[in-house]
Subunit: 204 residues, 4 copies
């Protein structure tokens, strides 16, 4: 995935603001990383490129984010604030479909899809990246569908003591699978999969 050199804007030079971390530099780096990730994907996402675009220096990036994975995590964290809460649609299955479709669209539109793909790729050869994914990303992601399951319990679709962990993992696996095979646009696959899982939950 060779990428052409695209320089959208000349970053203005920042200087030290004394012995405190510069929020401006921090913002510029994350922003540059996000832009590169969006426009070039994982292939063009090198720290050299990020530093250059941000008008920052590589040591600064390594100091605060340790490396690629840390920076990617921060991007994911920041941007995932924008993930919408699932509305009450009357049934567990409908809400799960909505939730996953929303997640996929979020991944496609924001830099988070590319960030997560990159993280998964890194994690295959970098133990630290894998640890970050497991310790920082997954717990957070597990909380995303919690309200949906709570509502289903209130509705009586699920037992009150139902543990959503396994179901959540299965849904995550399903979404990751479409992410890494670059098939997030196949939204029609969502319904059958959710139907299968939802039926399983009811039956359980």
């Amino acid at each position: 995935m060779k990428t052409t050199e695209i320089v959208l804007k000349k970053p203005k030079q920042r200087k030290s603001i004394g012995p405190t971390r510069s929020p401006e530099t921090r913002r510029a780096i994350v922003e540059a990383a996000r832009e590169i990730l969006t426009s070039e994907g994982y292939g063009g996402f090198t720290l050299d490129a990020v530093a250059k675009r941000a008008g920052a220096s590589k040591p600064t990036i390594y100091k605060w984010w340790q490396g690629k994975p840390g920076l990617l995590i921060e991007i994911y964290d920041q941007e995932s604030e924008a993930l919408l809460t699932t509305p009450d649609l009357g049934s567990l299955a409908d809400e799960l479909v909505w939730l996953i479709r929303n997640l996929w669209r979020f991944w496609r539109i924001t830099a988070c899809g590319a960030a997560l793909r990159s993280l998964i790729a890194e994690a295959q050869h970098d133990g630290a990246a894998l640890a970050l994914v497991k310790d920082r990303l997954l717990p957070q992601r597990r909380s995303y569908p919690l309200s949906v399951f709570e509502r289903a319990k209130a509705r009586g679709e699920l037992d009150a003591d139902f543990d959503p962990t396994d179901a959540t993992d299965l849904l995550t696996a399903f979404s990751w699978y479409h992410l890494v095979t670059d098939t997030l646009d196949r939204e029609k696959d969502i319904e059958p999969a959710v139907a299968m899982i939802a039926a399983g939950l009811r039956g359980a």
Copy 2:
């Protein structure tokens, strides 16, 4: 992931055997790749290392396999011949559990787990690798659980016209998820997941 240089055996030099592809060289290269993948993982899997260990030349590798992804696919193809057929265990759920457990063990024991992890990683920045995965690997893998579903149909657990595609993809997603998060040893996760899916299938 710095790795120490491990040279197990000095490969003898091969010469050309005329205007035909040397099966010995081919074997040596695949074997070397498999060994490196097993002992070093994706991090140490460089074509330089493979060529050196195989006593082969990089141009030969690029000529016949085009690059890393092609070589990885071949390893996976070759080795996956050893995947066992699932025995008749009396129920769909039991057989699916057995099948997935067997797949995970196969991934852990052979080089195929590392190969698939590497392929998935490559596919995140290399379109050609992604295409290989989707066109060469996935179709083949979809056929793996076919006999299990056929038996379930014969048993009456599933309708005769049941299409196993969605269920297979979900099981694949589940396995890939554990692969890329390096949690193939959590076999206890298999049963709940399969139970959910199997219940969904019955309910459908």
Copy 3:
């Protein structure tokens, strides 16, 4: 000196004609070598390219010409038959100027200039090439101006026992210098140099 792939004509495939050297193959190889040398220069003159263009195989080239230098020598030998004999111009200096100008033009027009440049380049790291140049090329080249010196003796411009070796070497050096610095078009440099040498010869 990156060169674009130029294939002027598709060489027809020749087959073995039995236990005799094929004159057609020989011709095709030399011709292909000459063409590449002319159009691409030393930079594009690889045996792979020659073999491909000639529709021949590298082993055939190595068998009959041993390698690049041998092939280059043959090209030079063949083509240098076309070098004109210097006419009687009435004076040694005039004839030497004519001779050198003719040589330079010959180098520029035919493949021999490029061939000699290539040979000189090869000879800087390849002892065999150097030996070929000294043993096969130089003696032959020394004979080129002989008739001019003979005429000068007859005319009385030189003593009867004059040995032209040193003068010839100096003229050769002068021409090689312009060859390797790619300044064979500076014909105006010829006269002053020859004047200097001719005056020296008279004075001697």
Copy 4:
């Protein structure tokens, strides 16, 4: 020209000394290049070898010297400081003989002979190398015999308005010819050639 691997000393690792070019690295690279050139000649002079011996990295070499020709030029420049000034010997011819003999010895003893041979070889297929030779090397070399000609003018051997360019080029050609034919040890050839040229100069 297969060469045996000779490692005389294990180079100590250098680190960056900040955003300034490290003179130590520079020195180490030039030194390594010089050593390889001296011991192996042009045949063994690869940038891989230079980098390895210098304990430097190839990118550093390419960054500062662009490639082989640039490095060769620097070696020549640095080392040619050691060229001796020709003493007053009373006659132009004697001084020219002394000068050329000194040059040849200098070429034989230092790495400059090999460097110049390499440069000439490179220049036959690399336009940039040729340009370097013509623009950086030749002008400098033309100045070498200037003082000799000046003394000859003072002595009255030459007219005050004599332009030494042609004579210098002829002498350069003569020396290059012996360099590329690896006959720098034939010092007895110097006198006749110089005699011819000197006589020509007087006669002019």
